[in-house]
């Protein structure tokens, strides 16, 4: 699969502080999620992709082209939906989007046509002649999406697209994002701190923590592998964990008696019951479940998965590898 974004020891320093600390990853997903807590560097990474911040070290390539050297060419291929309110308040919606399309290089007539189409596409067709300043928050988000897609970009950067939206508007936005993704004509990078949004749309995730890559996870591979594991809740028992490992299972303890166990094909659940009986351990709960993005995220935040970060190409089940 063609590389979309390549980070090679990317170092960005702003106001004397290191914001992005030698990021190295190679991302090729159709829809890439950019996760991390506030202040982790998500927006800085997006701004660096747009050339707003020059890297102090390393390189950042989009579609194989260095951002600093091919800024103009890349900007023509990027659609950007910023996190904050960004529009021209005293313009009508359709004029605003047409204006943005013309700056991107569309001739006036085509820009007008595409602006109307983009407005209908995002569902604001009826409000396109209203001034943007009079739009509700949800409408402004959709107008921002319309201006980002109007020139038909190859890469769409969405910074917190569902910020401040009510559940219905959020679903509508996510539906649009999935629909754009499924056309196959555009790659998306979605920055968010809402795990469900990322999980619903993305096939690859990069998690940032304090300016460093905490984890890179190919969700699509995860889904394909359909790796199931057991989540056990047991009473404390000496030697039970070691015995399970001795069976050949990958096993991790999360404290308070919670264990996660990956069963190899030749091991059956009844063998766990036998081991529990041998060690006088009560199994109080046993669930089959897959790692959710939340698990991956929490593990990355707790520092458990930092070593799995991003050697290109990202290995499948990279996060589980630390179990």
């Amino acid at each position: 699969m063609a590389k979309v974004i390549e980070l090679d020891n990317l170092l960005v320093r702003l106001g004397g502080r290191v914001i992005l600390d030698r990021l190295a990853a190679s991302l090729s997903g159709k829809c890439i999620g950019l996760l991390g807590p506030n202040g982790s560097g998500k927006s800085t990474l997006i701004n660096t992709m747009l050339g707003f911040y020059p890297p102090e070290g390393g390189t950042l390539r989009i579609f194989g082209k260095d951002v600093q050297r091919n800024l103009r060419e890349l900007r023509a291929q990027i659609g950007y939906m910023p996190e904050s309110d960004a529009f021209i308040a005293d313009m009508t919606g359709v004029r605003f989007v047409r204006y943005m399309a013309e700056i991107s290089g569309l001739p006036s007539r085509e820009a007008m046509e595409r602006a109307h189409e983009a407005f209908f596409y995002v569902g604001l067709g009826e409000a396109r002649y209203r001034k943007v300043g009079t739009y509700s928050l949800g409408m402004k988000q959709l107008a921002k999406l319309a201006q980002a897609i109007v020139h038909g970009p190859r890469l769409l950067l969405l910074d917190e697209p569902t910020n401040g939206l009510d559940p219905e508007a959020r679903q509508r936005m996510l539906h649009l994002v999935r629909e754009i993704r499924d056309t196959g004509e555009v790659n998306l990078l979605i920055s968010s701190h809402l795990l469900r949004d990322i999980e619903e749309c993305c096939d690859e995730v990069i998690i940032l923590k304090e300016g460093r890559i905490a984890a890179v996870c190919n969700l699509e591979e995860e889904r394909k592998a359909n790796l199931k594991f057991l989540e056990l809740e047991v009473t404390q028992g000496n030697g039970f964990l070691e015995s399970v490992r001795a069976l050949g299972c990958e096993c991790a303890s999360f404290g308070a008696g919670t264990l996660k166990v990956v069963l190899p094909d030749n091991i059956e659940v009844r063998q766990l019951y036998r081991l529990a009986a041998e060690h006088s351990v009560q199994i109080r709960r046993m669930n089959y479940r897959r790692d959710s993005l939340e698990d991956i995220f929490l593990k990355a935040m707790s520092g458990g998965a930092t070593t799995t970060a991003a050697p290109p190409p990202p290995p499948p089940r990279s996060v589980h590898g630390s179990l």
């Binding site: 021209i88 700056i103 290089g105 569309l106 001739p107 897609i149």
Partner: protein, 297 residues
Amino acid sequence: MAVYKRTYKAYRGPLTPAWSRFMVLSRYGFSTLFESRPFTAYVVLCMLPFLVGLVFIYVVHSTAIQSLLNVRFGRTPLINNFWFLAFLSFEAWMGFLLTAWAAPGMISKDFANQSVQLYLSRPLSRAEYLLGKVSVMAGLLSCTTWIPALILFFVQAQLEGHGWGWDNLWLAGSIFIGAMMWIALISLLAMALAVWVRWRIAATALMMAIFFVLPGFGVVVNAILRTRWGSLLNLSYLITNVWWHLFRIPVADGPTDRLTRLGQVPLWAAWGTLLAVCALCVWVLNRKLKAREVVRG
């Protein structure tokens, strides 16, 4: 992406040349300004001196009209360098008000709406963004200063005949250079102030203060320090010095009072200060015009 289908589709049509993108900003800038009726009325008002000048030149050269109006101008050359300087000065100050009114809003609105990042995330550099904005003011001011002045010059040359145009060709150059200096000064100053304070009203107030309050400080500096260099704080005084020189009018013919007497500062100092102000504005624009503000600390 057809409306009836309502599905996303990439654009594969023709694109405009990259060099011409700044003109999109100019076009929308003009369009937005002329949506305001008071602004349109003021621009029309700025054209009135041109019409008056045109009629005056015609009357001066038409004995039939003079006899009809029962006036006689005699043989004194009325349309000369002093006449063109007076015309340009009047139009320049009309243009100053036009700039103070319109220019700050063109940029401060973008900052207020945080839309600078939308412009700069597209294939448009900061220089092109500025060029697009400045060209609106440059276009408007050109239409009210050197273009009508040059039209009057050529009308005068045509009606006067006898090689008047050829003999006074330097005057056309003076009109152009003098007006361009003024346009560059007030356009850049208005833009830089708008980018700096990011508030239209404050930027307009600062612009007025620079031209009408700062000269007062210059007078105080001159009085206290018993110097003449305080006049460098008076931009309108400096540009007047430059204009008088460009139009080859002896400064002795100018104002005689101590405050506004021309030639108190050397010509090189006047040119140098005006160019330094322009350079300072460019520096401010380069420092402050960014898609994202970096907070230090």
